[in-house]
Symmetry: D2
Subunit: 369 residues, 4 copies
Amino acid sequence: MKNTFGQSLAVTLFGESHGEAVGAVIDGLAPGVPVDKKEIEKLLSKRRPSSALDTARRENDEFSILSGVFEGRTTGTPLCIVIKNTNTKSGDYTYGPARPSHADYAARVKYHGNEDYRGGGHFSGRITAALVAAGGILLPALERKGIIIGTHISQCGNAKDRDFDNVMGDIITLKNADFPVLDESAKGRISDEILRAKNNLDSVGGATQTAIYGLPAGLGEPFFDSVESVLSHALFGIGGIKGVEFGLGFGFARANGSQANDPIRVDNGRVFTETNNNGGINGGITNGMPVVFRCAVKPTPSIAKEQKTVDFIKNENTSITAGGRHDPAIIRRICPVIDSVAAIAVCDLLAQRFGTDYLAGEEPVCSSV
Amino acid sequence: MKNTFGQSLAVTLFGESHGEAVGAVIDGLAPGVPVDKKEIEKLLSKRRPSSALDTARRENDEFSILSGVFEGRTTGTPLCIVIKNTNTKSGDYTYGPARPSHADYAARVKYHGNEDYRGGGHFSGRITAALVAAGGILLPALERKGIIIGTHISQCGNAKDRDFDNVMGDIITLKNADFPVLDESAKGRISDEILRAKNNLDSVGGATQTAIYGLPAGLGEPFFDSVESVLSHALFGIGGIKGVEFGLGFGFARANGSQANDPIRVDNGRVFTETNNNGGINGGITNGMPVVFRCAVKPTPSIAKEQKTVDFIKNENTSITAGGRHDPAIIRRICPVIDSVAAIAVCDLLAQRFGTDYLAGEEPVCSSV
Amino acid sequence: MKNTFGQSLAVTLFGESHGEAVGAVIDGLAPGVPVDKKEIEKLLSKRRPSSALDTARRENDEFSILSGVFEGRTTGTPLCIVIKNTNTKSGDYTYGPARPSHADYAARVKYHGNEDYRGGGHFSGRITAALVAAGGILLPALERKGIIIGTHISQCGNAKDRDFDNVMGDIITLKNADFPVLDESAKGRISDEILRAKNNLDSVGGATQTAIYGLPAGLGEPFFDSVESVLSHALFGIGGIKGVEFGLGFGFARANGSQANDPIRVDNGRVFTETNNNGGINGGITNGMPVVFRCAVKPTPSIAKEQKTVDFIKNENTSITAGGRHDPAIIRRICPVIDSVAAIAVCDLLAQRFGTDYLAGEEPVCSSV
Amino acid sequence: MKNTFGQSLAVTLFGESHGEAVGAVIDGLAPGVPVDKKEIEKLLSKRRPSSALDTARRENDEFSILSGVFEGRTTGTPLCIVIKNTNTKSGDYTYGPARPSHADYAARVKYHGNEDYRGGGHFSGRITAALVAAGGILLPALERKGIIIGTHISQCGNAKDRDFDNVMGDIITLKNADFPVLDESAKGRISDEILRAKNNLDSVGGATQTAIYGLPAGLGEPFFDSVESVLSHALFGIGGIKGVEFGLGFGFARANGSQANDPIRVDNGRVFTETNNNGGINGGITNGMPVVFRCAVKPTPSIAKEQKTVDFIKNENTSITAGGRHDPAIIRRICPVIDSVAAIAVCDLLAQRFGTDYLAGEEPVCSSV
């Protein structure tokens, strides 16, 4: 469905980097879910460029909710949230040479030159602000049901953070962290990698690790709507993500079954596995353990170094040096985007399984009905 | 949509390992596409267990096409293909202890004990025979349009094959190979890994690499229906796949933009990139280069070694040793499944972009209309 | 989705009139639903031609369930049911002249001459046997939740039946009737209309009225998935249906609000409306009253009278007299098809609203989980 | 998909009557389609209340396009159009007694009292302004491809307009008419019916007839996505529509096949039918004749007469007299809404059949690609 994701709870995205606004419509959200603008602001601030590690573009992500919220709660009808674009310097962009590793050339073939090319248009990371705004509503709603989600930078260049260990505690740590790592010392190592890239007029990639804690067992479908299918579908919608793996992921390639299988135990009626190599999913269905996955994030394509490309107006080879303002790495800013996208997918899975009221979680106003 | 995948071309799966049959309905396939039963048989034979490297279960995958084909060509209406289950030894299976790393426990929570537990039921790899049957129709249809797909074993345990190099030539090599590797010497190394696992009453995982050659630029959507989203959604439907990465994938994590970006060139009007680190996809849209991706495949969960688990009838801890007949590795047999699933996703992307007649590719019978 | 209907519970149809079989895949059906082959047979028998009022084609609708049922109950995974075609006389059909009011010409343009033209191929009423087989599973499942559905012949030519009055009682009457009318005397009048058409080498149209009793209030969506939208979408999939109206329907055109509005009352906590002109739906949402709708059914296109048409092989005007075996009216046989299609739509609405377990309705086998 | 309609071209609606704004996101629209704000304004003005026949609520439907248009043409990425609500008098509405024949009670059960009840909230006819805004973009796009759509008031109370006759000419007449009727004299008769209802503190229903001229043959699908299914699904999304019939519709009930079948002819290679009783659709597929359908529209539920209802706060019987500002009939204002909804459905059918570029219709800017 192109720019719409989800079946029972669906999110539709719109907007371009240098257009009037970006936004999202959330449909199928349960009625009566509290919406707190401060939660949305807080999550947006985590995505916002804020230091020398990020692009120089600054905007305060002023948003408004056009529909779907009444007296501080969701109505159950479509919620449209709009974020204005303010700090747009279109003069930085010209149509012609395609920026390597960006969508420019592919978009030109698809849209025949009608695409808004300024700042990547609809392909810009700017659009992910709308996803994060949606996350600012859905993540607190999930939390009220005991489901929490956290993402940390697992790797950036050669710097690495430790993996999730005590999942619940680690997610809470991330929620309060100013820099999304589990091992505090990783912040310095990662920052160094990013600054080194910046100083080299270059960029650097990374990887994230995400955990979803508190999901009930029994979500997802055996075939095409496996939990892995649904999550990866949503995650690969985020520009720059080029790999998704669950549990051991590519580490399974060299593993034996006897090591990789997760032993199942029961204790006082509670079922769990001693290890979680499967990342909380068996046969496409959640098994009640935390869902854990990693995303590979490619280096920001825009770099200040000269690169070979083609000028599509003149149809000849040329070179390009990125103008505009760019991040030397998006690995920090992508973390709240991944949390938000995971929240969308999880809310959809829950609504499919348990119906549209699952997140309502409050005494209905009209209890007699 | 649970067991249905695709929007303009959709495939619906059904069947259980030890039920009467497995099968697929293909809907939205262009009219006039030749259907050759020998092509279907040939692809099914590539998935079939055939040597000491595979399970001892043998069936000849006798199939019948119930609808959608008339006088050797597709009608354009739903095509249902059914494969009988014959060699089913249900006595090997009992309900109770969940097999670790299998869907047993998750399925039990989801289906409340009504699931067909024999041989994994609907979660069994047996169902992928229906995907391969669909592939036997779609892959030749794509080939007639110049689009070819090939998958090789990239890794198994510690043994590795080389990567795709001359993509078109490599895919043709794979089409004719009895063992899906690019470097002939890899066959021995990989076989050794599998036999070692088998002799240890164990299993071993692996990774595959797939290339799709000949796709036009401009397929896919910027956000939720990126080519990565659509392909990964379908691929993660295959049991045992726990990771999907495009191009450099997780290798991007330590890369710099200046190395990872693919320089764009034009030569005699033909646009290409000098490298293909992005795996043929930018911003979610094909760029005309081969689409290249890897899948991580976990070790077969069923092993003859004893494993800790829970008996859900008695609700107490116990241990289990896999009965039944099992593959020490599925990495060889999964290759035609991945080709088939990729074909389904690609056919859907093409139909979305160019309409329902794209694959027809033949002079219409009724040209005057 | 072409031949698939439904979001949370979906039905996919396949088959042609003179092909090997027709069938349906039901996906998303709750686990643990009892499946009684006698119920399926009974409903199929209601659709079957049985007297001088119907076509001379006779088949006993031998069916088999290929998947999704285990030990007499649904597993929760896709259920595929297949009905063999046996009594096929393909010699009656030739390709060339399009039968007026049939799909022949439209299909030829769509499928470029690749369609299976014998007996209407995939457009044949024969495919509705698969819908009725699905109904044979879903209607009893709904009944166990207190939701019952019945359809009677409202009109045929100039003969009319009375409208629903005591809805629950009327539906039970229909369940046991050999001819689907509410006023017993209507049977003779309607039979006369059909026999008169038959004797004139002609056919005759009709209208049906359906009631769904026991639906909870609060199903459906304000906009595009209104209950009317969902039901009409499914109903217009049945060949020959050319109109759908809810409650007063086209009778609203001459009504005033003061007469047409349904006064709302509460009695001992039970909310109801004094009249049901809105047919149980307000603003697209069920209000707890019976859902009542009418369908317009066109006369069988195939008649033994000569008709003007075009021969598309020769591309010239010609005339045609229907060969084959045809119904002078399908109004009786369409009633169980409408019941079945309504059941599919209702099951989907319930699954969307309350989740995938709604119809399970039985103590789960594995209650400890 | 709740508030989203369409597969290849999809429209998502949002907004409430007394919220900040109503709007729509159009996704899947071809790139390069000219967008003329004057066309949008013109269509919106046809829906706007303008005389004593309409509600006293007046707003000028100030709209802004937030995304998807660049330099006067569509980009091919999601187009979001927003219409501000200005003239909102919320004081007219109180929560408690449900207005008969409105969605109030059904909504309360569905949303548990969280719904925005002011002016009907998301159920208000106000939301149809967003559909008309979408129509203001899609209808001119279709026109450029030779496809035109027009709707007239067929009936209102006892007053009737003539049916479509010369379809192309009639649609052009309607395009320029200030009152949507084909027979000029019908305007007076219909106005009288509306004023009579108004003077009686009452409202009156009606019926519309719509024609779509210029559709190619071969659109739609045999089963669940028949053209009737797709159109009716969209049309029944409009509040107040309670019946949809194609061609003869319910008139088929008393017809014989020999009269109702449309004789097919060919003349200089052009295929047509002598009559169009099937309304341009056979077997769910367009046959190249105009698609013609009627909609039944119920009387406006809000009337100034006292009506019996229930107070859901007190849970007791009471009565209500509509406050607020209401239309004595919506039959005139619904015409551009139906045109717009038909345009959405038709654009989706075309995109499914011919791919996403069908409406682009202009020389691509980047023709070398």
